[in-house]
Every structure is written in C-alpha cells, then in structure tokens.
Symmetry: C2
C-alpha cells in the first residue's frame, strides 16, 4: 500500500529548491544576492532610513562563496532573530502594505541553500539601536522547520548602532551569474537615488552607487483589505476575528475606504439586512455578499497610502539618464485592486537616442515589481502578453524597425508573482488590464511625438 | 516596529495561489482538471490496474462548475482520507519512484480553490476493495492547515468496489480553458494506450479515449538515493536515520547500486577511514564525502527500475498516429541522475507528413514529464533553451522552412519543475545535458534520412 506522511514547509522547499529560484549554482548566486539586498532595503525604506547597504562576495575556492550583507536598517528584535532567519514562512511582511518581501521565506531559502551546499551556518548580528547588540549562529532544522541556535552572544552597543549584518557561505557560480548580478544592482539603484549601495565582487571590483538626494518617498502604510475581489475565505476570517454584531458594523469597520454610508448602501443594494449578525450568516448569503462586493462599483477605489510608486519624475529621470532617448512618455495609473490587494501600474515607452533596434523576439522590456528589477522569464510575464496583444500599428509604432524600450512597474500590497523566486508576474486579469491601458496611454503620446516630428521635417524640407 | 508571525503552508499557498497554478479562473480550470486526473492515473498505474477514469464537468451557472472525477485505482485508506484531501504537504508520493504526484499538494490546492471561490466542500468516496466503502465531506482549515470533517459515513461495499471519487465546485471559465483541457486529455491518452479515459464537458460533449491494449508497463519501484549529486542535508539525514557504525556499512547499505566493493573503493579513493563512525564525522569530512561522491565516476549509473519511461515503440507509434510524418527519429537516453534523483530523457524529432511549417517563434515542441503533457510556458522551459542552443544547420535542418516537430519526455523520481503548477522544467544542468544529447542523436538520424532522400531523388532524376 501507499506510505503516507506529512512534510514541513522547509522540507518542501528543500526538496523543490528549483521552485524557490535555486535551479542551479548560477541562478542560486543571483537569487541569494537579490533576497538579502531586498531584505536590507525593506528594513531601511519602511522606516524612512536613508539606506546604506554593503554587499561583499568572496570566492573561497571550490565554487564556494562567502556573502556578507550589512545594512543600517531597523534591525531585528533579539527574540525574533532565530525565527526570522531560520524558520520558513515566518516574517513581518504579511501585512497589507507594499514591501519587497511578501512570502516570509526569501532570506531563509538563501541560508538553507548555504546549509545544504556548503554545510554553512548563518551568522546574524543585529541591533534595533538600543543598549545591546546581539549575534546568533544558526542552522535550520529542515525536517521540523525550526531554528537550531549554534551560538548566541549579547554585548554592549556603545555607538547605538542600528542595523543588521548577515553572513554565510554557499555553492555558487559568480562568473556566470555576474552579468545579471551587476545588472540587478544597476537597475535597483536607478530607482533609488537616495540609497548608498556598495558591492565588492569576488574579483575585488567595487561597484558604488552613491545617493544623489536625501529625499525619500513616504513609506507605505498598512491598510485594511479592499472590498474588490476579496474572496470567501478572506471575508470569513475577518468575520471570525471581528466583534461586530451587525453586518453594517462589520462592513463599515473592516474594509479600506468603506464607512457607514457606503456599507449601508451596499447592503441595501444586495438585500442583506444591515442588522443581520455576520457570524450567523448563511453560506448562501456570504457568497452573495462576496460576489456582489466584487462587482459593486460604488466602492471608493483604493488610495495609494499603502503603496510607494516610483513616481513619474523619477522614472523619467532614470530613463533619460540611462538611454538619453529622443522622447519618453510616462504614465501612472490610478490605484486598482485584485483579490482585495491595492496596486498601481506605472509605465513608460522611450523612443530613440541610445535605445537599440531589436529583433522582434528580443524586445527591450524593463520590468519592476515593488522596485525589484525582474531580469528573468520575460516571455512568460503578463507584461509580454500585453505587449504582444497590443496593435502597435495603430500608434504608428513598428517594434521590429524602431528603437523602442518599454518600462513597466507594478507596485502592490502583494505582487502576483508566478514563482517563489519572484521571476515574473502571473496572468492576473486586473493587472493585465492596467498594464494594457498604461502602455496604450504612453503609446498615444509617442505617436503624437512622431507625428509632430514628421510634420516638422516636412515643414523643414519646404 | 515590525509585526512578526508564522503562517501555515496552506495559508502560504492560499495567499499566493498564482504560485500553485491558479492565476485566474481559466488557468484554475485547467490546473484543477489536471491535478485530479493525475491523482487518478497514479492510483491505477502504481498498482498495475488498467485505468478507468471518468471526468464530468457541469456548468452550474455564475461561473461556478461542479467537477466529479472517478477512478478504479487503489483507493485511499479510511484514516488517511481527511489528510490526503485536506492537509497541504501530505501525501504518499514522497518516495523515490516515478509518479505524477510529487509535492503532496495538487489535489488539495484544487479543493482549496473550490473552497475559497465557491464556498464548496469536497466529497470523497473511496474504498481499498474491502468490505466497506466510506464517504467524507471535508473543508480545509487554511490557517492551521488541517482537515475539517463536515460529515463522514461508512457503509457496506457489496461489489468490493475499489477506487476513489472526488467531487467539488469551483469558480472557473471552461469556455476559455477548453482548448487546453481537451488538448491535455488528447496528449495524455496518446501516451496511455492501455487507459480508458472519459470526459463529459459542460456542453455535454463526450470525449472518449478507449484503450487499444491491455498491456501495461511495469510499475516503477522505490529505490534508494543515487550517490551522484545528493547533498549534505540528504546524507546527514541518512546518517541520522541509519544504524551503521562504520562508513563502509553506511555507504554499502544506503545508496542505489552501491555495495561493499564500490563503497570500499570510493572511501579509499577519498582517504576516509572505512571504519570511521558516520555519526562522528567532522563537518569537513562530511563535505569531502559529499562533494567527491558527486564526481566519483565509478559508481554504477542508476538503473531504470524506479522509472517508467514511455518507450521507443509507443512514442513512435503515438507520433505516427497523430502526424503521419515522413520520418521519425526516436531515442531513449540511459538513466542519469541529478541531486541523487535518477531520470531518463526520451526524445523524438519528426519530419514532414502532417507536421506544419511554423514561424521561428512558434515551434512545434511537445513536452512531457512523467507522462504529464506540459502545455504552458514553452519559452521558459529548459527544452526550449536546448533547442535554441543547438546549431541545427549542422544537421541540415532549417527550423523556419522545414516541417519539424520535437518531442521531449523527462521521467524522473522527482521532475525538476520550476513551478508548483508543473508548467515547465527548470534549468538543471544535468537535465539540459541529457536533452541536448537526445535531440542531437535524433537530429543525426533525420539528417541521414534527408541525405538519403536527396540522393534518391538525384538518382531518380537521371
Ligand atoms: N536585513 C534585515 N533587517 C531587518 N529585518 C530583516 C532583515 N532581513 C530579514 N529581516 C526580517 O526577517 C523576516 C524574514 O525575511 P525573509 O526574507 O525570509 O522573508 P520576507 O522578506 O518577509 O519575505 P520574502 O520571502 O518575500 O523575502 C523579514 O520579514 C524581516 O522581518
Ligand atoms: N484518486 C486517488 N486515488 C488514490 N489516492 C489518491 C487519489 N487522489 C489523491 N490520493 C492520495 O492523496 C495524496 C495527496 O494528493 P495530492 O494531489 O494533494 O498530492 P500528490 O499527488 O501526492 O502530489 P502533487 O502535489 O504533485 O499532486 C496522494 O499522494 C495520494 O496518496
Ligand atoms: Mg525577504
Ligand atoms: Mg496529486
């Protein structure tokens, strides 16, 4: 007969490391760098700390690399360190606000990969700026998904240092990973003119990205779920957690931008008694509430306080600096939502200048999600699906003969990544819709530019 | 400060359903059908039961569909049913033998999706052929990842029926999913001439795939891990679980096709004392054993008892029947291994007949993994990477002007899928290597055929 058993989440990701972005030593090198840098940037940005991130990768021979990432972020509280770094599906980013981290496993997978390929422990030193700073040496008990504390020390923190240092070794391949790793740092810093990022690579080459401004965007704030698209399980959990004894009270106090007036109008429109007790709602009634919530278009759209877009000026400036294009059209869509998660699409189309003319299967498409550059699997990304779908001729654009580059940024309280390695964005209809409209808006502007340019040259020739 | 918490594996896949293959109702419809049919086929094939699988999908209106899948497989033991169908990361396929299932979550994700989109319970009826058959009505407690038994009944089983029936509702989109769903059934049955598969779709259309033979391939048998590529964690666990008091005893009793002689030669070659106690091995020594195990080429390659390839005749017959090509070259590589997992690549290149000439970005590539057809994300698949890499001119093949179709089947004790939705295969170097050699072998045969054909036509013209 069959042998049945349960496995832990850590064991699942250990057995299936390709799923977490660790297909092979080249991809692992990239993924590890990405995961640790993103943790460092989140720790700074969420608290309006001007980021100072230092990354050092040393070649220890035999394909083993030692990585050290240091940041001046908020630090990790003493009791949380073992779980934050050695328990899969544990973290502080399960909240409804934009951050690079969302799964609660990126940093841990990197550390797990070091443990299984180089038998490495991870050394974490941190302080939240208090009188003490502390150091742990950890492993992950993979079968039981819990931390193994090899060593820990607490010491004085005279300089009131605040931040985190993570260090471990792993089997990698920097030679092959280098182009993507360097591109990742470059693309990241284009979007973060207020960050100081330093990367010393195994050849001793120093990559410095110095800040050009001290102005930081306002950090994203946590919000309640938006009524558009939240599913039955989501609403059921809110009901279970809520103390409301009426549907009116429940609706008015649990959803983003839904107050008493909106709640009353909604409940009346779907013929649910505002005085009904949410905890005794029939399954049928619950389904009605949820499905009608999706279509009710008198809910206020999400506001962007839970999001932190790049911004039109910054996006344009970054593109101008990199490509010196003849023309750039940028746009920022209003906030929308999928499955109750607010999101915003920002896009740009750049024409001419130093942008190359590319063959049709190698388009210049630059994608970002929550300010993370996405450098893999372009063809599976929803952005590519949209680009292939649009009839560019209507905008006088011929992608095979004109120097055109596309830029797409999706910022969301939860980015709909298709993969745990955050390689590309899944085919969400709401997201696809927003990308399509953003690109068409930009396309129209590029068309107008080309038309004006053509008219000007006609005038000139006369 | 940050709010730290842990979440269950069920909560992770609930929050990130795109990662499990449930991007949207269209993709969800396909994934759900796939997951349940694959469970049914595994339950039959693993026990040499000629499969009888019946699938019925009913449109209940409002985008809600009811799915019922019935099989004559081995059945699920009474106490295991709640966990098998309502606890994520639970199953019977965590063993080292080829099966379609590997993760312990496919069926559950389908059921979870039905629960959150249609508030559906799942009804499972099963019997292992004994005096009783039993029925459960289940939900998943997502936050705690455990089953909720709504109802259960045990009754007599007069006909000694053995098998499983699974039924639940979910929000889908059959209209858009139809082409891929039908293609999935068609492709699946091409590889399973001994299976009776019946699919009744929401429009009442009956798709019947009747068996044309009663001969089934031998089921795959469980084996021990192969020494090539097993990592430090894997070896450490084997040491912890083993009672061996010497390295010689440990090596000789725990690895696929490694006996006393091979173990002794290996340990001597890496200067590890055969009498050393594995449990007191230094970390440094353990790393030496593991890394040298990877490179030691005097280990026997895996034998194929843990695998169940399609077979050259069947593959050729299926291609002949579908495309009536002018010529088919098929090949089956010897067993290889990655990360300790044995695998075999089978490939075919077909030329002419009813095969269309396709533009370069739309090649005819048919991929299978453990007899599952892969119909998505071709461009991200490692097979495509290989096809793009090969210099086809050397084989007188011009992919843009000739009618050519590629067929690649990877069978493995663990297929290196890149995604939880089993959409495509990750970039594993060992797998890439095998696919490359398989395709080149086929390409050489096609080249010889084209050369002969050309000579024949020259002779004819004289
Ligand atoms: N450098 C750091 N500074 C402060 N906190 C950190 C740092 N690195 C990790 N953490 C904490 O550890 C938690 C777990 O990190 P991990 O990378 O495993 O998951 P995540 O960032 O929450 O999500 P994701 O898997 O998407 O990266 C984070 O949520 C954060 O609270
Ligand atoms: N129709 C069936 N007949 C017999 N056993 C079944 C059937 N469906 C599911 N099972 C049992 O339930 C377990 C869990 O199934 P599930 O689909 O969730 O995971 P899996 O098949 O093991 O792996 P995967 O996630 O890759 O599909 C299986 O391992 C199997 O033991
Ligand atoms: Mg992280
Ligand atoms: Mg399954």
């Amino acid at each position: 007969g069959e042998k049945f058993k349960a496995i832990s989440a850590a064991d699942f990701f250990y057995k299936n490391k390709e799923i977490a972005g660790f297909d092979n030593p080249v991809r692992a090198t990239y993924t590890i760098m990405r995961e640790l840098v993103e943790n460092a940037l989140d720790a700074c940005e969420q608290y309006s700390i001007l980021p100072e991130v230092r990354v050092k990768l040393i070649d220890e021979g035999n394909s083993i690399y030692k990585l050290k990432v240091e940041d001046n972020g908020i630090g990790v509280p003493y009791e949380q360190v073992p779980y934050a770094f050695a328990q899969i599906l544990f973290g502080s980013k399960y909240t409804l606000r934009q951050s690079r981290g969302i799964f609660g496993l990126g940093g841990k997978m990197a550390i797990l990969y070091g443990q299984i390929t180089a038998h490495s422990t991870v050394r974490v030193t941190s302080s939240t700026g208090g009188f003490e700073k502390y150091s742990y040496e950890l492993n992950i008990n993979i079968q039981e998904n819990r931390p193994v504390i090899r060593r820990k020390e607490v010491g004085p923190n005279p300089g009131r240092w605040r931040g985190t240092t993570v260090q471990f070794s792993f089997e990698g391949d920097y030679v092959r990973a280098k182009p993507k790793v360097v591109e990742y740092f470059k693309q990241t810093s284009i979007l973060l003119p207020y960050a100081n990022i330093l990367f010393v690579d195994p050849d001793g080459v120093l990559y410095r990205f110095d800040r050009v401004t001290d102005v930081m965007p306002k950090p994203a704030e946590e919000v309640q779920p938006h009524p558009h698209g939240i599913d039955v399980e989501g609403v059921q959990r809110m009901i279970n957690a809520s103390r409301s004894s009426t549907m009116l009270d429940f609706m008015a106090n649990n959803f983003h931008r839904v107050g008493v007036a909106t709640a009353l109008n909604f409940l009346k429109s779907i013929k649910i008694d505002p005085q009904a007790n949410p905890k005794t709602l029939q399954s049928r009634e619950l389904l009605t509430v949820v499905s009608r919530m999706k279509e009710y278009d008198e809910f206020q759209p999400p506001d962007a306080q839970c999001l932190s877009p790049i911004g039109m000026e910054l996006l344009k400036a970054g593109i101008m600096r990199e490509f010196r294009p003849e023309f750039v059209a940028v746009t920022q869509r209003g906030a929308s939502a999928y499955s109750g998660y607010p999101f915003i699409v920002e896009a740009a189309i750049a024409y001419g200048g130093e942008i190359p003319i590319t063959p049709p299967d190698e388009m210049s498409v630059f994608r970002y999600a929550n300010k993370i550059p996405l450098l893999y699997d372009l063809h599976s990304d929803v952005a590519m699906k949209v680009i292939k779908k649009i009839n560019w001729q209507r905008y006088r654009l011929d992608l095979s003969t004109m120097p055109i580059a596309f830029f797409i940024h999706i910022c969301a309280t939860k980015v709909p990544y298709k993969t745990v390695g955050k390689e590309y964005i899944a085919d969400r209809p709401e997201v696809e819709y927003e990308i399509e409209w953003a690109l068409k808006t930009c396309a129209r502007e590029v068309k107008m530019h080309l038309t004006r340019k053509e008219k000007a040259s006609i005038v000139q020739r006369r």
